[in-house]
Point group: C2
Chain length 368, copies 2
């Protein structure tokens, strides 16, 4: 056994075949894993819920066991595709009954933003672990209520910060913590895309409770924090709207925002639903830099630093996220960057500040 | 003759040797040029004046013929290095006498910012063409007075916007004008470096009348205009100072600023004296993008668009600038992007707005 492991380690050390090894390692673990498995129901069977479900097929420690949806046809479809028994299917009226279902340990909520608050609180009250997609809430007040409800119910509240498990991102964080970029001075985050169908919920103020900022801008908000490695103390913001028909009042099209950090670093960020090719992070320190482009898309992420290209292999973000979240919920593992409700609360305090700064034109002090 | 030209054109069409051709072409012109030559005196024999003088050695249409300096030892040095006769040497007391010197057609002013206003007006009064380094003035009011003085004296006022002649920059402008990026939506300009010697005039409020913004930030201000191809209508700005000892009151260390354009595009810019590796432009349109990195350094400039790498050969910016300015002053040539006093006035109106916005925290409307 040991000599085979030594042999594999030697092969893995060869740069030529290294990118292939994680998959091989994965397969080996899938075949031999006999530890605890997190049984997950997905609430909200839209495109992102589907992406998570598909990604979980490759998980060892997490397994899709249930669904919650208001659309019977979708439930039928998912039952067929993922082998989900009737007793693990719920609708929005009866999902509190997951409380009595031993086949469900956790519920992953991928519904529109406005619904998260009440749904998280109901799942917590049912005694199940909660995983909620970003943005966890639509403002800091809601976020705090959700955290309190989960604490009171004795369940954990995790948030779908998939980038916190992405290998190139983690390598940059490791290098920064190791002082390899020197003192951090600047972060640039550009997050945006041109949104299509104007009838989708993401452009509906009642369901999205915002626009690009809530959907894609939050990657720049969160990214500024994990790339700089500090919590910002002020924010300024400027909103621009070129298409008031598509982007109704309360639905932001483009917002630029700036953050100031205690160590003197500043961040310059862009959130938009009306531009192409904007998925870039740039971190600048006194001794070096890091760039991710693309930085937060589903992958592959590409990156480089002043020392050269980052070569960590691509992994399906949602697979690793669910695997790691199972580790957190089942084994008490601690992620490098937090993925809990408090992490989301900080982002939402910043987003509250961004909207306030954009509206008033004033610098807003942050207390994270 | 024609068959030789055809042959050279065929060779030039081959990508392999194309980068070598401009030099060969240049040498041929140097040897055969018998047209008018612009006779230039340089005022201010510091490092940038020296750079211009060295670059002019390769010029065909422009020639260094005189110097103006307050330091006799520098004049002596330059006389030896550039073969300048005693009669073409002036100090700051007597330089109005260039009026009577037929060996000097134009004076290129490379002194500290605060001195430009009076010196430009004195050179104009002496009836010589004026070339002034950036920033032309320290605010829009001064700039307007300088423009008026040159107009009244019947001389031209040009400003050292060397990037307006840089081949990759011009290719991006050509592509944009040709619609190849579609509607322009976003510009990012990051301009900065870590400034050294704290005793230099650039960190002296009385001489620099500002800090990084006046020296390097102006590249982002000007770049936003020539890259977007519109004049901004508003500006917001945020100042950060981490080293108040090195950067005294009135000397800006780091300023982030944002611009809004009539077509809906926005710009996000950074000006700093306290960061490394910041020399990047990024332009994003509905159909494509352009990146320059480095974008405004002395070169080589590197760039790419959604269509691939830009391959225009590097040229010494100051050589081409002086050659083209001779064409403007002697032959009435028109540059692709203006390099006159009015161009500088627009930059200074924006810089006035940036300082005002940074101070008040308010959005400032621009009237360019």
């Amino acid at each position: 056994m040991n000599s085979r492991r030594d042999f594999l380690q030697k092969i893995a050390a060869s740069a030529l075949v290294m990118p292939l090894m994680p998959l091989a390692g994965w397969a080996a673990r899938v075949n031999h894993y006999d530890g605890p498995v997190l049984k997950v129901a997905i609430m909200g069977l839209g495109s992102y819920g589907n992406r998570v479900a598909e990604a979980m097929k490759a998980c060892v420690k997490a397994k899709l066991t249930g669904v919650i949806s208001g659309t019977p046809a979708k439930i039928k479809d998912w039952q067929g595709r993922f082998g989900i028994p009737e007793k693990n299917c719920y609708n929005y009226d009866n999902f509190d009954q997951v409380k009595n279902n031993p086949d469900i340990d956790a519920v992953y909520i991928t519904t529109p933003n406005a619904l998260h608050h009440d749904q998280v609180i109901r799942i917590a009250a049912a005694g199940k672990q909660v995983i909620c997609e970003k943005p966890m809430a639509v403002n800091a007040k809601e976020a705090q209520e959700m955290i309190d409800a989960c604490k009171k119910a004795g369940v954990q509240l995790l948030v779908g910060y998939r980038m916190h498990f992405e290998p190139k991102t983690l390598e940059i964080i490791r290098m920064r913590n190791n002082g390899e970029f020197g003192k951090i001075m600047f972060f640039q985050g550009q997050c945006g895309f041109r949104i299509g169908d104007p009838t989708q919920w993401r452009l509906n103020k009642q369901l999205a409770c915002g626009g690009a900022m809530m959907d894609i801008g939050i990657y720049a908000v969160n990214g500024a924090r994990y790339m700089v490695g500090e919590e910002p103390v002020w924010v300024t913001a400027q909103e621009t709207k070129t298409d008031p028909v598509k982007f109704k009042p309360g639905v932001d099209e483009t917002i630029q925002f700036q953050l100031g950090f205690p160590g003197g670093a500043v961040a310059s960020c862009l959130s938009t639903y009306n531009m192409n090719n904007l998925d870039r992070f740039f971190l600048n320190g006194e001794k070096g830099f890091a760039e991710l482009w693309p930085s937060t898309g589903y992958g592959p992420i590409k990156g480089r630093t002043n020392k050269g290209e980052l070569t960590q292999p691509h992994v399906t973000h949602q697979t690793v996220q669910m695997e790691e979240m199972a580790g957190i919920l089942l084994e008490g593992k601690q992620p490098t960057v937090a993925v809990n409700g408090e992490e989301a609360l900080k982002d939402l305090k910043i987003i509250d500040g961004i909207y306030q700064a954009a509206k008033t034109g004033q610098k807003v002090n942050l207390h994270l």
